[in-house]
C-alpha cells in the first residue's frame, strides 16, 4: 500500500516527466511560450479548484465513490474554466483549441483530484500547487526550447539570428515528445542525484519547503 501510494505520489508530483502522464497539453502548447503559459496556468487553476472541492467533499464520499466524484469534479471545473478561458483569452483559446476541453479527462488532473480525498484540504491544495507549478515549469521549459529552436521566435517575437537554423520538427507534436523526453532525462538525472535514497516525491516536497510531507514520507 505504501509502495502503491508512493508511486501515485510520484505520478502526481512529476507526472509528465516520470509516468508521461497527462502530456496531452504538451502537444498543443509547446510551439508557443504564451500558449504554454496559458495552458500551464489553466492546469494549475484546475488542479487547485478540483483539489479544493474534493478535499471539502472527502467526508461525504465513501471510497467506492471517489473515482466517479473525481471525474464529475474534473469535468465540471474544466468546463467552467473553459468557458471563462474562451471568453477572456480568445486568442489563446484559438491556439489551444481542443486541448483545453481534453483537460477534463487529463489523468494528471484526475490523479491529483482523486488523491485530495485522502488528505486534509490544506495538504491537498499544497500538493496541487506543487504539481501544477511543476507542470507549468515543464510546459514552459519545453515551449521555450521548441519555440526558440523550432520557430526562431520567443513569445511570438522573431529571433532573426536563428531564422536560418530552424528545427521545424520541434514545433510539431513529435518535437514536443522529443523535448519532453529530453527534459525528463535531465530532470530524472538531477532528481536521482539529489535524492539518492529518498524518493523523488520527497525531494520535490523538500524543494518546495513542504516539510510536512517530508516528515510523513520518512515516518
Amino acid at each position: 500500500m505504501t509502495e502503491h501510494k508512493s508511486l501515485r505520489m510520484l505520478a502526481a508530483e512529476n507526472p509528465s516527466m516520470i509516468l508521461i502522464l497527462g502530456i496531452c497539453p504538451l502537444f498543443g502548447s509547446t510551439a508557443d511560450v504564451r500558449a504554454a503559459l496559458g495552458m500551464g496556468c489553466l492546469v494549475l487553476v484546475a488542479l487547485l479548484a478540483s483539489s479544493l472541492i474534493m478535499g471539502l467533499l472527502k467526508h461525504c464520499i465513501t471510497r467506492q465513490f471517489v473515482v466517479p466524484a473525481a471525474f464529475l469534479v474534473c469535468a465540471g471545473v474544466v468546463s467552467v474554466l473553459e468557458l471563462l478561458f474562451h471568453a477572456w483569452f480568445p486568442g489563446l483559446y484559438q491556439i489551444l483549441g481542443v486541448y483545453v476541453s481534453v483537460l477534463s479527462v487529463n489523468l494528471l488532473l484526475f490523479a491529483a483530484t482523486a488523491d485530495s480525498c485522502e488528505q486534509s484540504v490544506e495538504k491537498a491544495i499544497s500538493q496541487a500547487l506543487v504539481v501544477g507549478l511543476i507542470f507549468l515549469a515543464v510546459l514552459l521549459s519545453a515551449s521555450v526550447i521548441c519555440e526558440v529552436f523550432g520557430n526562431a521566435s520567443f513569445a511570438g517575437i522573431e529571433i532573426p539570428a536563428l531564422k536560418d537554423y530552424k528545427i521545424s520538427v520541434l514545433v510539431q507534436p513529435g518535437g514536443a515528445l522529443l523535448t519532453g523526453a529530453f527534459l525528463a532525462a535531465v530532470l530524472n538525472a538531477v532528481a536521482e542525484k539529489a535524492t539518492s535514497s529518498e524518493s523523488v516525491s520527497d525531494w520535490f516536497a523538500s524543494s518546495f519547503g513542504n516539510a510536512e510531507k517530508k516528515e510523513e514520507s520518512e515516518s
Binding site: 461525504c60 466524484a69 465540471g76 468546463s79 468557458l83 474562451h86 480568445p90
Partner: protein
C-alpha cells in the same frame, strides 16, 4: 449492513449534489460568457476587414458561407466566405478562400469595393504557398479595378497562386454583380476574348487556367494576333475590328471554331476565308507527331499494329487519335499533351479497348526537371500498370497521384479526363 447502505446513499447523494451544483455554476458562467464569446467571435471575423478598411465604423453581414440559406444573395461562388456591407459608403467587403494555388492549401484573401464597384483595398489574409507572389504588394495592384479586372496581371513564375488570387477576386465580383449589388465593369474586347480562350480551348491553358502561348506569324492579314500553344495543342487567332472582335481556335487535328467576346460559338457567321487562313497558319506552325506516335503505339501494342489517324473536334489536350489494329483486335490510341512542372509538356499515351477501358498507358517522361527532382524515385512500371482497366466511370483521379509531384499528377489527371472525352467524341461522331 446499515452503515454500508448509509455510505451508498450518501455517496449517491453527493454525486447528485456535485452534478446539480456544477449545472447551476455552468448555467451562470455560460450566461455570463456567451455574449462575450459571441462578441469575440464577431471581432475575430471582422478583424481582417478592419485591417482592410481601418476607418470603417461597422459592417453588416450579408452572406455567410456556413448558412447561405439565411442570405438573400444567390449564386455565390464557393470561394466567397463572407460578404459584408460597409456602413459608410454603400460598398461591400468580401472575405474569400481559394484552394487553387500552387500547393492546394487555402489562400485566404479579402477585398473591399465602393458603391461604384471599384476596389478600395485588397489583402492576403493567409498564404500557405512556398512561392511568394508578393503577398504585400500584389493585392495592391487591384486597387481601383472594377469587375473587369482589366489592368491586373499574373505574377510571372507564381502563376498558379496569383491566378488563383485573381480568380477568387473575380468570383467575389461575380457574387456582387449577379445579385445587382454593383454594376459590371467594362471589358474591352481583347480582354474578353483572352478570358474566353481558356474556357473554350482548355488544352491551350495550364491547370491554373492560364493560357500558355507564343506568337506566330500569319501568312495573311486577317488577324490582329496569332498564337500557338507552347506545347503544340493548337493555335488561336484574334480577328475582327473594334468591338466586333472574335476568336478563332484551331485544335491539333485542324478543327476550326470561332467565338464572340461572350464565348458563344459563331463559326457559321465568320468569313470562311478567315477560318481557312487560321487553319493554314495553324498547320504551318504545327509539328507533325505521326511518326513519333506510331513508334510509341507500336511499342505498346506490338510491331504488327496497323495505325489509322482519326480526327477530333475536341479542344482539350489530346493531340493524336488513332485506330489501332493488332492481332485481330481493335484498339484506340490517344496522345495527350498537358502542362506539367514549369509548364513543360507531359506527353502521355493511352490505348483503350472498344469499351473505352484503358489497356495500356505510357509516358515520354513523367518526372521533368531531373535536376530539381534529383532525389525523386518513382516506380513507373507499377504507376503505369495502375491505369489498366480504368474506364471513364471508374476513374477517380487518385490513380494519377504521384507523391511530391503535384504538377505531374494534375497533368496526368487532366490527360486521362481528356482522352475519355476524346473517346466519347469519337463514339458520338461515328468514329468508333
Amino acid at each position: 449492513m446499515e452503515g454500508k447502505n448509509n455510505g451508498l446513499a450518501r455517496g449517491i447523494l453527493t454525486l447528485i449534489l456535485i452534478v446539480a451544483v456544477f449545472s447551476g455554476i455552468l448555467y451562470g458562467v455560460n450566461a455570463y460568457t456567451a455574449p462575450i464569446i459571441e462578441w469575440n467571435d464577431n471581432a475575430a471575423l471582422l478583424a481582417p476587414l478592419y485591417t482592410l478598411l481601418p476607418d470603417a465604423s461597422g459592417f453588416e453581414l450579408l452572406y455567410d458561407y456556413t448558412a447561405p440559406e439565411n442570405s438573400s444573395l444567390k449564386d455565390v461562388p464557393s470561394t466567397v466566405r463572407y460578404i459584408h456591407a460597409i456602413s459608410e459608403n454603400g460598398g461591400y467587403a468580401l472575405q474569400l478562400s481559394t484552394t487553387e494555388g500552387f500547393t492546394g492549401d487555402p489562400i485566404d484573401l479579402s477585398f473591399a469595393v465602393d458603391a461604384d464597384g471599384k476596389i478600395l483595398n485588397a489583402q492576403v489574409d493567409a498564404y500557405p504557398d512556398t512561392k511568394d507572389m508578393g503577398v504585400d504588394e500584389y493585392p495592391l495592384t487591384y486597387i481601383g479595378q472594377d469587375s473587369a479586372l482589366a489592368d491586373v496581371s499574373i505574377v510571372a513564375g507564381v502563376t498558379y497562386s496569383s491566378s488563383a488570387f485573381r480568380r477568387a477576386v473575380a468570383d467575389g465580383f461575380f457574387a456582387l454583380t449577379e445579385n445587382g449589388l454593383v454594376a459590371e465593369g467594362y471589358k474591352d474586347p481583347v480582354q474578353a476574348l483572352t478570358e474566353v480562350l481558356p474556357v473554350v480551348f482548355p488544352g491551350i491553358a495550364n491547370n491554373a487556367g492560364v493560357v500558355q502561348t507564343e506568337e506566330i506569324q500569319s501568312t495573311g492579314d486577317k488577324f490582329n494576333s496569332a498564337m500557338k500553344s507552347t506545347i503544340d495543342t493548337g493555335a488561336a487567332f484574334f480577328a475582327g475590328e473594334g468591338d466586333d472582335l472574335y476568336l478563332i481556335t484551331v485544335n491539333a487535328f485542324g478543327t476550326v471554331k470561332a467565338y464572340d467576346t461572350k464565348g458563344r460559338e459563331i463559326t457559321d457567321s465568320v468569313p470562311a476565308e478567315a477560318l481557312e487562313q487560321a487553319k493554314a497558319d495553324a498547320a504551318a506552325s504545327a509539328k507533325d507527331f505521326l511518326k513519333k506516335d506510331t513508334r510509341a503505339f507500336k511499342k505498346l501494342t506490338g510491331d504488327d499494329m496497323e495505325l489509322t489517324a482519326l480526327s477530333l473536334d475536341t479542344f482539350n489536350s489530346v493531340t493524336g487519335a488513332y485506330k489501332l489494329v493488332s492481332g485481330g483486335n481493335t484498339y484506340y490510341g490517344f496522345t495527350s499533351r498537358t502542362f506539367g512542372f514549369g509548364d513543360m509538356a507531359i506527353v502521355t499515351r493511352y490505348v483503350l479497348d472498344e469499351n473505352g477501358a484503358i489497356v495500356k498507358m505510357n509516358a515520354d517522361e513523367l518526372i521533368l526537371e531531373k535536376d530539381y527532382f534529383s532525389n525523386y524515385t518513382l516506380d513507373e512500371t507499377s504507376y503505369k500498370e495502375g491505369f489498366q482497366g480504368i474506364t471513364e466511370s471508374t476513374f477517380t483521379g487518385d490513380e494519377t497521384l504521384i507523391t511530391g509531384a503535384t504538377m505531374t499528377s494534375n497533368a496526368v489527371k487532366t490527360a486521362v479526363q481528356d482522352i475519355f472525352e476524346a473517346f466519347q467524341n469519337l463514339k458520338e461522331n461515328g468514329g468508333i
